[in-house]
Amino acid sequence: MVDLEKLRFAKTHEWLRVEGNIGYVGITDHAQKEITDVVFVELPKIGKEVAKEGEAAVVESVKAAFSIYAPVSGKIVKANGAVEKDPSLVNKSPYEEGWFFAIEIKNASEAASLMTYKDYLEFLKSGAH
């Protein structure tokens, strides 16, 4: 099981799991419930440079398309082919099998400035999202 306390969260509902200088990115359980049945995922190409809060991937439900933003700046080093093949992994396992891509983190302070899980739950409760 993933330890949610170790993840960091963006206001746009992405999570970041840091392993060394690599950050894995996915969307939260709250976000997958809002998006509903994910039927298509478009991932960034490996080697692409993304900026913090820049669009990095697209997730589509039956009804609509949603942008996924990079929570930190850096270079894309991995893309999860499993979610391209089976987009429903995003709904079934948002924090584990449903991750989208990994970024080589340029600036560790960007990761540190994201919300903790506790902050994120407060953020959801506040209704500001």
């Binding site: 039927v39 298509f40 039956v62 009804k63």
Partner: protein, 365 residues
């Protein structure tokens, strides 16, 4: 987003009780989904789905001037609506622009029930009153009736448990006035999903009881409640255009693929304009297409041919049954025939699509 003006259907509390996600749809609070659009879609194709269709507008046209009035305002021939039969027709303006598409039920004895779209109800009513030179009696019966659609291959078996009428005698696009679950029902074999099934209009105050009893009777047959999300994917697969999305006042039946519901052998409002258009030729036609590249077309996306804009997507979705991406869009007539290829600009990239015949999905008989 909901606003204070949104109306609740007679089934609203039932949807809340089922934990539905509620949205505002043309002024009505309706369930978009209960659990999952795909689950509800698949259940309707494989077993059965139960839909709230109370938002559809209901009008009664009666009196000895009813028929000439309907013949004048509708493009299709009302003579086809023998008692017990339902006829589909566009309702057009003088310039041929489509105000709505309507189901006309001939209830006999100069009485007709019209089922119109939720989004156009007020407009239709005002239009009909303004064009009622014949002197037909036009009655708004919207609030008095709730509506339920039971759709899918198990519909017959499920409804037979609650309805004494011989359903095997009820043919497609025909209706009866019968008792369902002990309540009056305007009951038809019809729908908007491409499956066999029934639509019924019942007294508003008894709607929740009938809804719950059908759900209970259908439980062992795989029936689940289904929302607007599944209704939209089902109708798209079935190749049914949606008024306000795939057709509107800027289009005539000639552009919208509805010419089969226009009878040029009789007179009707909009006939001259449509004949003129037929002579000159239309500039755009509604085409059904499927994606060759993996990408989902959505309303408003641009259609291109060799880099030039030739049209726009009006509806698009991932098709849960076909497991491919499909849509409708207006394109120049040269590009509208089955087999024609074009590109759709999706997230800034050109993705290939090909025109196909409708329906996308046809049920096995």
């Amino acid at each position: 987003m909901t606003s204070i003006e949104d109306r609740k259907t007679p089934l609203y509390e039932a949807h809340r009780g089922l934990g539905a996600k509620i949205v505002s749809f043309h002024g009505w609070l309706l369930p978009i989904q209960y659990t999952s659009i795909i689950e509800e879609h698949n259940a309707t194709r494989a077993k059965a789905g139960l839909f709230d269709i109370s938002h559809l507008g209901k009008l009664e046209i009666s009196g000895k001037y009813a028929k000439p009035f309907l013949q004048n305002i509708f493009t299709n021939n009302i003579e086809k609506a023998v008692p017990g039969k339902i006829v589909y027709s566009p309702l057009c303006k003088e310039d041929g622009g489509i105000l709505d598409d309507v189901f006309i039920y001939n209830a006999g004895a100069d009485r007709y029930i019209l089922i119109v779209n939720a989004s156009t109800f007020e407009k239709d009513l005002a239009w009909m009153r303004s064009r009622n030179k014949a002197g037909a009696v036009i009655k708004d019966i919207n609030a008095s009736l709730g509506g339920i659609a039971l759709q899918g291959p198990a519909s017959d078996t499920i409804l037979a448990k609650l309805c004494g009428a011989d359903l095997s005698q009820l043919k497609h696009r025909h209706f009866i006035e019968a008792k369902v679950d002990g309540c009056y029902a305007l009951l038809s074999r019809s729908g908007y999903t491409g499956e066999d099934g029934f639509e019924m209009f019942i007294p508003a105050e008894e709607s929740i009881k009938v809804w719950n009893d059908i759900l209970e009777a259908g439980k062992s047959h795989g029936l689940i409640p289904a929302g607007l999300g599944a209704r939209d994917t089902l109708r798209l697969e079935a190749g049914c255009p949606l008024y306000g999305t795939d057709t509107d006042e800027t289009k005539t039946p000639l552009e919208s693929g509805l010419e089969r519901a226009v009878d040029f052998s009789k007179d009707f409002i909009g006939k001259e304009a449509m004949l003129e258009k037929k002579r000159k030729g239309v500039k755009e036609i509604l085409a059904a297409f499927r994606m060759l590249d993996r990408a989902i077309p959505r309303t408003g996306y641009i259609i291109e041919k060799d880099g030039n804009e030739i049209g726009v997507v009006t509806s698009g979705t991932y098709s849960p049954t076909l497991k491919e991406n499909i849509g409708f869009g207006y394109v120049k007539p040269d590009n509208s025939g089955a087999g024609c290829g074009f590109d759709i600009v999706i997230h800034g990239e050109r993705k290939r699509a090909v025109v196909v015949e409708t329906p996308f999905y046809r049920r096995k008989k």
